[in-house]
């Protein structure tokens, strides 16, 4: 009798453990599929570079631009965005690894603004000057004002809505 009760408990625990393991495995493979769909991310980059504005995806600037931005954070577009060296190094590595590899002019000083690159201007050539100045846009750097899914790395034209 007591032997049977033991056996039952034992089997019950094995069942619980097996189910638990199976669920963990399922969750990991879900997360992986999600990662493929969405853009690259890094928790430190997202929290540090997403505090004052939308965290601009690394693929929109070449590595030397990111390097120049990361070495001038104390005077960052009129704001102080200074970081400790350890965080700065970690974020620089992430940005460089995922930077744009498109051909660009390397004879000039690296551009610090995505919004000043020639591809940005050409992708947005149909956006009227008055649209950039709408109160809900304010600046071309405000990607999320029009790209409604930008937070998940999606800049597809199907998800563009110009605010009224």
């Amino acid at each position: 009798m007591s032997f049977n009760a033991n056996k039952f408990t034992r089997m019950f625990f094995v069942a619980v453990l097996v189910t638990g393991t199976a669920m963990s495995v399922a969750r990991v493979s879900d997360a992986r599929a999600e990662g493929q769909k969405s853009a690259v991310s890094d928790p430190k980059w997202k929290s540090e570079c997403g505090a004052c504005h939308f965290a601009y995806p690394p693929r929109f600037l070449p590595a030397e631009s990111w390097r120049a931005i990361m070495t001038g954070l104390d005077k960052h577009f009129g704001s102080n965005a200074g970081l400790d060296a350890e965080s700065a190094n970690e974020i620089t590595a992430f940005l460089e690894k995922n930077a744009s590899t498109k051909k660009h002019d390397t004879t000039m000083k690296p551009l610090l603004r995505i919004t000043e690159t020639s591809w940005f201007k050409s992708e947005h050539r149909e956006v009227a000057a008055s649209t950039w100045k709408l109160p809900k846009v304010k600046s071309p750097a405000n990607c999320v004002a029009c790209h409604t899914k930008a937070e998940s790395g999606d800049f597809d034209e199907d998800n563009v809505r110009i605010p009224k």
Binding site: R10, V14, A81, A141
Partner: protein, 139 residues
């Protein structure tokens, strides 16, 4: 054998429980105490004052900027970055339990924001006054 399973199950439950605890390193009161320890060593130290902190917070210093430019006149409300329009969560601990729970984060933002608003770092006295004020703000 059964005992091993029990021990293992308890271990898993304990680990899960620990992982779910919010990872707050400090409390706002501890941050205030650390500021006080720093400020009280300085010449001219006065007991922290919420009133002085409020005035400091709402006064425009340089560049026509005050702390309330981004954090609003009501620190229990959502703020907005003056340049980028990005939403900023409330600054008052009563309205946002994550505030003033990480000494390093607090130091980093005081340094940045004071430089933007005053072109210098804030003194420990000023930071203590501001936190004393923020702790009096109700939700």
């Amino acid at each position: 054998m059964l005992r091993v399973f029990f021990a293992f199950a308890f271990m898993l439950i304990t680990i899960a429980g620990l992982a779910l605890q919010p990872a707050f390193a400090e409390t706002p009161i501890e941050v205030l105490a650390a500021l006080k320890a720093e400020a009280s060593g300085m010449p001219g130290f006065q007991e922290f004052s919420a009133e002085r902190g409020e005035k400091f917070f709402k006064t425009k210093h340089n560049h026509n900027l005050s702390c309330s430019t981004c954090h609003t006149d009501n620190p229990a409300a959502q703020g907005k970055h003056s340049e980028t329009d990005k939403i900023i969560k409330p600054l008052a601990p009563a309205a946002n339990e994550e505030r003033f729970t990480d000494m390093k984060k607090v130091a980093k933002w005081f340094k940045r924001n004071c430089n933007d608003v005053l072109d210098r770092e804030c003194t420990a006295q000023e930071k203590g006054d501001v936190l004393a004020y923020l702790l009096t703000v109700k939700k």
